[in-house]
Symmetry: C2
Subunit: 347 residues, 2 copies
């Protein structure tokens, strides 16, 4: 065990403060990482405030981790000291179940071990996240970061990036297709960049006319204002795929009408109930509504390699560790374009 | 034009009576069919009563047609006089759009021409269905009926059969999978038979304990009573696919919980709004909710050939043409196991 400086919440009051956390020793299969940058995800806020009722304090948030390898266990083969690496939302899984064997560790039948606020396999153990100087992670859950990517701007790829890449990848998005990305926030802006890099005609679908210019800068070929009835009518039946990043419950029916026959809208943000869904257009158009959760480790590495090849990173605002509580307030107010990333040298 | 005896509704009062209908002459690309049997589908009832607001009287219902070829146009290559043939829900489509080229004529971008109550490409023309002595259909929409199948019992394959076969086929159902069929009616009973013939472990999911025995006779390996909370819990996460045949709006959430991660529930009956759908389990389990509509012509022939090979037909009660109004009443009351078929020699 070694004592590490970390920003932790001690209660649901939502404030993060400097604390000392014990990190486990670097085991034979582990990689020890000095954290350089950590992205700030909306779920960090929920965990700190115990919005989902599963927080066990202290909570050290952060699952968009970029760092450098500082030590490796004797069995570690893929990494060496000095490598640029990343850690996303998961740090372990059973590795033996059907889901793990299909490279879908996020659906591990024993439950994946998440990067923070999760029980470990050791009795009483908890995971602590990336708002911290160091993290120790099993080799299989450590990712290689392409050298050409800006390290700070690459951090959000580990959650926002894979969350949007995975559905685009699952549904085979490529040149010749028209993809709509619904909602322009941390997830949506990655969706635009990734769908565009995959060669699709990419349309930003948003309620906010003031986001149109930004969307085009991010790579959107078109912008569809979803409150404009004529525009919505014009785009009926035109989309090969819709990536819905709206983070709250909403009416999906107007969006389903935008899909071509036999196509899917995948949602990655709305963990609240969706309003009543009209069955008829889904039957008559053979349409589907699907959920998707981050991505497996193999797919996350594919995403990072894809981003390296296409030079895709997140749009970020870098902050110091001590600015985190203010960043949380601004994130709540949607006052970030599009992701805060903590420069851990400030800790 | 030739005058044909048919049972038609003249108004939304819902009564069918004997009328004389003009059938078009057999064109160069047409097949003329003497109708032997016609299945009675729930949508016949809706069309007769104008429940969907699109009925144009007179309506001759019937889209589960079995008959014998009595004449062919000079360009017809696939059929000859005396052949056993069938006609399902569609009789024409543009044949040139993206959907038609993908063998998904039911999603023809110009709109498929349905077997009855549909405008034809001739000005003022309407289609008339199978409650009739004869039908004339373009060759491409005529299907070959395997010789070994009972002709009356094969009639419902043309709608109930393909409606359930298509999703099972799309989702690659095979041995080693566990498939749940929700709802035991005209569609559900075909779902059980087909999923079972495909080699899947097939589970009937129903609210009615009194349907359990019947379901097992039809080929279900197990029966899950959806009102039994303990049973529902036991089956959580166990299904590779769910075929939902419930014909009305309902709460899909308890069923979604029965799916394994990364699997789909496909609904084929509920054209009414589905109640609010919980997003969280769909995201966390990467699950999908999809609609499906009958099937294309190529797939319908595949279904018929599959049924020939596995000797699958519908469970039917044969009626005389004059009994149709009473059959409609019984169908409304769910008093049929599982499909009425009209013996057209009674007309």
């Amino acid at each position: 065990m070694s004592a590490i400086s970390a920003y932790a919440a001690k209660s649901a009051k939502g404030k993060l403060e400097l604390h000392t956390i014990e990190r486990r020793d670097t085991g034979d299969n582990d990689v020890q990482i000095a954290i350089q940058f950590c992205g700030v995800c909306h779920s960090d806020l929920h965990a700190v405030a115990n919005d989902w009722g599963n927080s066990s304090y202290p909570v050290v948030p952060g699952h968009e981790i970029i760092g450098e390898v500082t030590a490796v266990g004797k069995n570690v083969k893929k990494f060496k000291i000095g490598d640029s690496v990343g850690v996303g939302c998961m740090v372990d899984s059973c590795q033996t179940c059907e889901a793990c064997k299909e490279d879908l560790e996020q659906h591990c039948l024993s439950g994946p071990i998440m990067t923070y606020n999760s029980k470990t396999s050791d009795a009483g153990g908890r995971t602590y996240g990336g708002y911290s100087k160091q993290v120790v992670v099993r080799e299989e859950f450590v990712l290689r970061i392409p050298d050409n990517l800006d390290k700070a701007a690459a951090a959000p790829l580990l959650c926002a990036g894979i969350t949007t890449f995975s559905p685009l990848h699952q549904y085979g998005i490529k040149k010749g297709m028209t993809v709509g990305v619904i909602g322009l926030g941390g997830l949506g802006h990655m969706g635009i960049k990734l769908a565009s890099a995959m060669g699709a005609r990419t349309v930003m679908i948003t309620t906010s006319t003031n986001k149109a210019e930004d969307a085009k800068k991010l790579g959107a070929d078109d912008v569809l204002i979803s409150t404009d009835k004529d525009a919505m009518k014009k785009w009926q039946g035109k989309f090969d795929f819709l990536l819905n990043t709206i983070p709250v419950g909403h009416d999906v029916n107007p969006y389903m009408g935008l899909l071509k026959y036999n196509k899917t809208m995948c949602f990655v943000g709305a963990i609240e109930p969706l309003e009543a869904v009209n069955g008829a257009p889904m039957i008559f158009g053979r349409k589907a509504l699907a959920g998707s959760l981050i991505g497996g480790i193999k797919e996350t590495q594919e995403m990072l390699d894809f981003c390296g090849e296409h030079n895709v990173v997140s749009e970020i605002e870098t902050i110091k560790m001590e600015e985190i509580n203010n960043a949380f307030v601004r994130m709540k107010d949607n006052d970030v374009r599009y992701r805060f990333v903590i420069d851990m040298s400030s800790l």
